[in-house]
Amino acid sequence: MYLNHLKPENAPHGEEYCTSMIGKNTHRWDGPAKVSGTMEYPSDVYVPGMLYGAVLYSPYAHANIVSVDTSEAEAMGAVCLTYEDVPKTVYNERSVSTPAGTYRDRIILPNKARHVGEPLMAVAAPTEELAYKALHALKVEYEVLPAVYDPEEAMKDGAPQLYDKIFLDEEEITVKNNVGVVRNIYEGDVEEGLRQADRVFEDDYSVGRIYQAQLEPKAAVVKPEVDGSLTVWGTCQSIHACRQLLGFLFQKPLSKINVKKMPFGGGFGSSIHVNTVIPICAALAVKSGKPVKICNTREGDFYSHNKYPTKFHVRLGVTNDGVITAGEVKALVDFGAHQIQPLPYMGCTAGWFASLYKYCGNITFEGTAVYTNKTPCCAMQGYGNPQVNFAIESMIDEICNEMGFDPIEFRLKNIRTIGDEFWAQGPTVRSIIKSSGTEEGLIEGAKKFDFANRGKFEDKTGKIRRGSGVARGFHASGTGGPKPGEVIDYSFATVKINEDGSVDVLTPVTDHGGGTWDAIRKIVAEVLQVPLDLVGLSPADTMNTGYDVCTHATRGTYCGGGAARNAALRLREKLFVMAGEMMDEKPDDLEVVMDPKQHQGCVQVKGYPEKRMTINEIARNAWIWSRGTLVHSESYRQKNAPPCFTVHFVEVEVNMETGVITLPRVLIYGDCGTPINPDLVKGQLVGAFNRGLGYTMYEWLPTDEETGALLNKGLFVDYKTPTAYEMPKVDNLQVELCKCYEPSGPFGAKGIGEAALASVQSAISNAIYNAIGIRFHEIPITPERVLEALKEKEAQA
């Protein structure tokens, strides 16, 4: 029968998917396209007649452009874009903070280079080959200026100045001594708290500059339409942020800019802001009047964004009975040549620090972020969380060792947990913790790992020293709260029942590869009790969706999924009204159930399941009788940002002769509330462990102070990330998901993505201490540094 063809035997997974799928492993919706190479990424987009763009990156760390000559490139048939051609609107490419909390300091193509790799000019030509030839034909005369690479040097009088003026919202700000942002936060009375302590611990910690190393270098295609509007396909974590920025830069109504949602090859924070190639591509398209495509090079990407390096000075007061009485963190952030943006970075860092322990309410955070002539820094999986976690969780380990506390009990005594306040994204985004897996992770994990029998480093001998360490962390799921804070947070979803009872979901939320889209489909399937394989994901763009801030802040499932759940709930009410009319029942008396035999969702009378209609029958009748489409759109804000918790137990083996460290055994506890798709959660925890391992032991991006260039020249050849080979063997890498339910989350779910990284660094470093008795205050902990430290220790003894 027409439009009644959905049968169990035609379902791709048979009856398997005709039951609740929340908490069960399901096949990824995008898996087959990804593994077969047919998924279309921005770099695969082809628009007839399009030109190919290429970007000229600055060879100098600090230089004025004195003159440019584009005649030769133009004679080759290239369209050239210089400072003269671009809007002079000063912008910040990151718009998740409110405008009042956003510093602006850059334009699309400046006439002054402030770091090696700064985009200065661009060309577009009918082929990419010609574009690069034209790029080489550009003649630029520079006035090279002295540059500064060290944040402390940069703050000194007489140091080269990167900026005179920048903007905070509409206000013009004078930059003094390269200090971009100062952010101080005080709660309680730290000095009084320290006086109440029996011991005060004080130390410095430092985390290095690394690169996000996502698989996909950024790409963009911008097509100018006949009516003056722009259609955009780009590497975007937020299509709406991209649309807003282009509207702002090109002074167009948002209705004239449509950004298409695309799959993308990972972000790790590097696409929360609008990528630099997108406005350049748009400017080329506007100037040439033709569609333009830019695919960035890997080296261009290395010079576009790094992770924030930060130096911390920490003081913690502790009583003899194991209570932390005060905590103080002073942070110095070297954020490079542009702000993307250190103000919320420091606010978040303060929040992660403040939310780790209670400190008897005595908290001070003083942060200074400084301009240097280096690659601008942006978010990277944690936004200050892994950085400050390394400092605090290292010091906690030191306190336990020095004062003889059990590291599990000491943490349990001081943690913020259910009922306590949590600063989700800085001091203005606060909510009360309603679920916590920390206790399970610490207590059960210690047993499973046999942590109590790790021994003391003093008793360890031989060439290979084995040690164990623990650390705990978290991240917020989203940036919501009871009141609006300095971070914008709401999302959107449309859910629609088709004429055959299948369902389409439309969401502006992007998926970095963590499986957010699958989670959203599953949440909708669960609300409507429709088999998962009948739920489709609609192509989305900025014109057919409401605003979503960005898939950042571990918010995809919690906030995006929350919006989808709410839209589905409202749609279910409409379904009951329509079904009630067809069945002659009150909507309130109806419920939905899944029927595996018919492979359909059904509406039935509560307590009288014999009276039911399949959703197919309802939707099909609605079509035949011209009753309209069952559809609901919802703009939705989560009023919490619940922390998702992690606990890492790590065992290391340190080779005393080579300094080489290996990881024989790792145990990870992850609390994401209800895991919508457990294997994908575990995958994130394992993947993040690998990235944390790189951060702790292998990766760093030193600058050549002669030239201002990265020593690795922006190439992976000299930037080594660990592979599966450096990880513990599969059987020795155990991942447990805490038994937790978050009352405010969709079906109890929270996030996991950034929490998964937070405590990796400190757990590894604490394990190294347990093995050899050396506390590292700086990462990466390379074999060279281990050997040097061992020698120093020997010399002291």
Binding site: E128, Y132, E657, L787
Partner: protein, 296 residues
């Protein structure tokens, strides 16, 4: 520099026969040979190659891609045989363990699937992992041109970084590696940043044992000199000596004191020097053990 695609314009030729390839080398200027491309393409993308007008892909030449034991019992490796095939070859594993280990230690699976020993030699990096084992096993490098054929001892092949003894018109066609004598033990030890990395430092030892004395010993190191370093004198110095732990420690110290590495992005000069002695000790012990020897 642009790693997205190759900007440089050049002719690409893929001769089907060895003669054809040698004709091209004899007649054309600025020919670069493509074997696996794992170094050549990187150099092309990073502007490290200026003088290439022709890229000659030799992967269609059948006689270059094989690997076998010849009538004399020697190992013959063709210039384009893939590292991933060679590292799994049972003959190599059994008789030339140091070579097999060096190949397994190279880069990542995907790189080894493309890379060749011929390319590793012609690239002439001081880091080249197969150079040490080849030199220690007494490999002969086979070169052929229109003028004729010749072989060079592997220890004489490398001149300085990126420069070999091969003439511009000569093609490296393969290697002949003599069958190791009975009671030979060999090992290869490498330290890198991560598994898929080039060596911070590497060492090869091939030792022939007679009772409890060293009948012969050949040693070579990577990443400690401007070219792969054959430690002729230190190896020869062990000949006829009774093997003891003290001898190994003394030799390791001697090696550490002898090498003069530099520091670079991979590691420091001090770390290289210190590790040289350490891996020398481990490598000598393993090679002696594999030769059937025991330590007094």
């Amino acid at each position: 520099m642009n790693t997205r695609f190759l900007e440089k314009e050049y002719d690409y030729v893929k001769p089907a026969t060895l003669d054809e390839a040698l004709d091209i080398l004899a007649e054309k200027e600025n020919v670069k040979v493509l074997a696996g491309g794992t170094d050549l393409i990187v150099k092309l993308k990073t502007d490290a190659l200026e003088d290439m007008d022709i890229m000659m892909d030799i992967n269609s030449i059948d006689e270059l891609c094989g690997c076998c034991i010849n009538a004399d019992g020697d190992l013959v490796i063709g210039a384009t045989a893939k590292i991933s095939h060679l590292e799994k070859n049972d003959d190599i594993k059994a008789a030339y363990p140091a070579l097999s280990e060096a190949m397994h230690a190279m880069a990542s699976v995907s790189v080894r699937n493309m890379a060749t020993m011929g390319g590793n030699f012609m690239n002439a990096s001081p880091v080249a992992d197969t150079a040490g084992p080849a030199m220690c096993y007494g490999a002969q490098v086979c070169l052929k041109s229109k003028k004729g054929e010749r072989t060079i001892d592997a220890t004489e092949f490398f001149l300085k970084p990126g420069v070999t003894a091969a003439e511009d018109d000569e093609l490296l066609t393969g290697f002949v590696i003599p069958k190791p004598a009975d009671n030979t033990g060999a090992a290869f030890v490498k330290i890198g940043r991560v598994k898929s990395d080039i060596a911070k430092v590497s060492i090869t030892a091939v030792m022939e044992r007679e009772g409890d004395t060293v009948k012969s010993c050949r040693l070579a190191m990577g990443s400690v000199a401007p070219k792969p370093l054959f430690l002729a004198d230190i190896g020869a110095g062990l000949e006829g000596q009774k093997m003891t732990e003290e001898l190994i420690m003394k030799t390791a110290d001697q090696i550490r004191d002898f090498v003069k590495p530099i520091g670079d992005h991979g590691t420091t000069a001090e770390y290289r020097k210190e590790m040289s002695g350490l891996i020398a000790r481990d490598c000598l012990m393993e090679a002696w053990k594999r030769s059937g020897g025991e330590l007094a």
